[in-house]
């Protein structure tokens, strides 16, 4: 197949890098950060090359150990795998942000483990995004989840461990329900390869498959924090170190959504039963998530807590888009996976910089920070405007597509919910901006704190720029996603 070994670089480098981190950083823990950044630069390069290949030559596969599926494990690079791009981008920027952050916020002994865990988490996500084998999917899911649980607890602050434990229990249940579903599918078909599975699922008993789909949906929606299953998220995402919050909120919850997309890919191809019940459920849960997530966020005082609830709201968008099952709906959901990752990373990193510089977390205390830290605050403002979906920022396109999808599917009600949900979201973001810019400071000394260090500023500014650019050049992610969605829906004539 003569494709070069970039897939290996993509998957293996972060794992090796993580394995070597504690050794290299034994004497001087601060080295760990630079090492991790270096390692991840290589990974990002690989991701870039692979994405370029996907975009020029179309999907391709890499066979681990040379064993063709169904014998061995296949890495599948298709349009949805292009999410490695966003994983690497945000991972890289978060790592860069971590350099200064970790020095300040973590006990020195934990720093090497922190960076090792971040690398493992990102590597796990890359693996999850590209693997074509459902059991391998589970393995990578565990790598990224385990490191995620630990990263939540790593500061050891306040309720960090409790939040991590809650996250761990919920996460483990979801992983198990996913593994159970894998078991069902395996028992029915005897294969673990996704493409193969889609073929072989065509002529089996539909009911067990339905149960498996239910278990998968349950598992992935816990990971994605869809509303009734979200209880772990606010604590975990607000207590984690800010760069980790960016990764968790921007990427790790999206892993659940990506899993759903993979499942849909298989199901649409297999056409084993009517999905409308599942779709309707997702749609409603999505709508409820949007509204309730926004309402919860409105009453928060802690800035990171607010952002965490806003993630729940935004996950609602994505699930609604998926559930609409119309072309534009799914396009909107997929684009929102990318854009929300960018936006939420901007916001969390920005919030992290504010907390790092001022030491305050509450909106009340942060008043007037817009004058003290103009660049960071401006980036947060862009992020906020973007997440509400005010044009011409990244968030707008998603809203537009999902609304279009709702109308396409003949469900105007959901379009209305979506758009008004966005307004709810705006209500709490405007509180934030008011506090930053239009209110006299509660603590006058806040005006004296300087702008964040440069390694923190660069990621924030780059992400904020991307929030704007992705709105203006919305075609770029779309050029990946549209063919993929068209392909995906082709069997049902969408």
């Amino acid at each position: 197949m003569g494709g070069g070994q970039w897939p290996v670089v993509l998957i293996i480098t972060p794992l090796i890098g993580a394995a070597l981190t504690p050794i290299l950083a034994r004497r001087r823990p601060q080295i760990a950060g630079y090492w991790a950044l270096f390692v991840f630069s290589i990974v990002t390069l690989a991701a870039g090359v692979l994405m370029y290949r996907v975009s020029t030559q179309g999907p391709f596969s890499y066979y681990m150990g040379g064993w063709r599926p169904p014998l061995g494990i296949e890495l599948r690079f298709d349009e949805f795998s292009a999410s490695i791009g966003v994983i690497c981008l945000i991972g890289w920027l978060s790592l860069m942000f971590s350099l200064a952050y970790a020095k300040h916020a973590l006990p020195e002994r934990r720093i090497p483990y922190y960076f090792a865990l971040v690398l493992l988490c990102l590597g796990g996500m890359n693996g999850f995004a590209v693997t074509g084998d459902i059991f391998n999917l589970f393995v990578f899911l565990e790598i990224l989840s385990l490191s995620g649980y630990a990263l939540v607890a790593i500061t050891g602050e306040r309720i960090a461990e409790l939040a991590a434990f809650k996250y761990l229990v919920m996460g483990a249940i979801s992983s198990l329900s996913i593994l159970l579903a894998v078991g069902f599918m395996y028992a029915l078909t005897g294969t673990l390869n996704m493409t193969d599975l889609a073929m072989r699922l065509r002529d089996v008993e539909p009911f067990p498959v339905a149960v498996a789909v239910g278990a998968l949906t349950l598992g992935f929606s816990v990971k994605a924090a869809l509303l009734p299953l979200h209880i772990w998220l606010p604590d975990a995402h607000s207590i984690a170190p800010s760069p980790v919050s960016a990764i968790l909120s921007g990427l790790v919850v999206k892993i659940g959504v990506l899993g759903m997309l993979r499942m849909y890919q298989i199901l649409y191809k297999a056409q084993i039963f009517d999905l409308s019940a599942l779709n309707t459920t997702l749609m409603w849960l999505g709508a409820i998530s949007i509204v309730l997530g926004a309402l919860f966020a409105m009453v928060q005082e802690d800035i990171k807590m607010m952002l965490a609830y806003s993630t729940i709201s935004n996950i609602g968008y994505i699930f609604m888009g998926l559930g609409l099952a119309s072309k534009y709906g799914i396009i909107g959901a997929s684009v929102h996976i990318f854009n929300h990752a960018l936006i939420k990373a901007t916001l969390f990193l920005g919030a992290g910089a504010l907390i790092h510089q001022t030491g305050y977390r509450n909106l009340e205390d942060l008043r007037g920070v817009g004058k003290a830290m103009p660049i960071t605050s401006a980036a947060i403002a862009i992020g906020a405007i973007s997440i509400v979906g005010i044009p011409p920022t990244a968030g707008f396109l998603c809203k537009w597509y999902i609304a279009l999808g709702a109308i396409e599917a003949g469900r105007l009600f959901f379009a209305v919910t979506l758009l008004f949900g966005a307004l709810f979201i705006f209500v709490y973001y405007i509180r934030m901006l008011n506090a930053f810019y239009f209110m006299p400071p509660a603590h006058p000394e806040i005006l004296d704190v300087g702008e964040a260090p440069v390694t923190m500023l660069i990621p924030i500014v780059v992400l904020a720029m991307l929030c704007l650019l992705m709105g203006i050049f919305g075609r770029i992610p779309l050029s990946f996603i549209e063919p993929a969605v068209t392909n995906m829906l082709a069997p049902i004539g969408g």
Binding site: Y149, A150, F165, I173, L176, L180, G183, Y186
Partner: protein, 116 residues
């Protein structure tokens, strides 16, 4: 019903799965929750293994004198991985429990919610 009887292995793992889930949802003690989680894990492993059962299958080792039918090697490989994953989860969870106890002096979730 008959089908259930034939698939009694699956049924057993489903029951174990639910027992584990019950423990997680009802028990207040974090270690107990974790034990429930472990039971759930083994239940899922049993489930996957059941998919590969071959009546009177021998260990799939092709030494001299080995004769079919052999047991299905694939689920075994998967479960080997699964067991390690389960161990990892338990190790991390127990560490968290130890830390929680050090900080709050309790591992009963009823007491811990007050802490937040």
């Amino acid at each position: 019903m008959r089908a259930l009887w034939t698939n009694i292995d699956y049924v057993a793992s489903v029951i174990l799965f639910l027992i584990g889930l019950y423990a997680i949802m009802v028990k207040g003690n974090l270690i107990k929750k974790l034990m429930g989680l472990n039971i759930m894990e083994t239940a899922v492993f049993a489930f996957v293994m059941s998919a590969g059962i071959v009546t009177d299958g021998d260990a799939p080792i092709m030494g001299a004198g080995a004769k079919p039918p052999f047991a299905n090697p694939l689920p075994q490989g998967l479960i080997l991985t699964g067991i390690v994953v389960a161990l990892s989860t338990s190790a991390l969870a127990l560490s968290l429990i130890i830390r929680i106890y050090r900080q709050y002096g309790t591992i009963e979730s009823d007491d811990l919610w007050g802490v937040e």
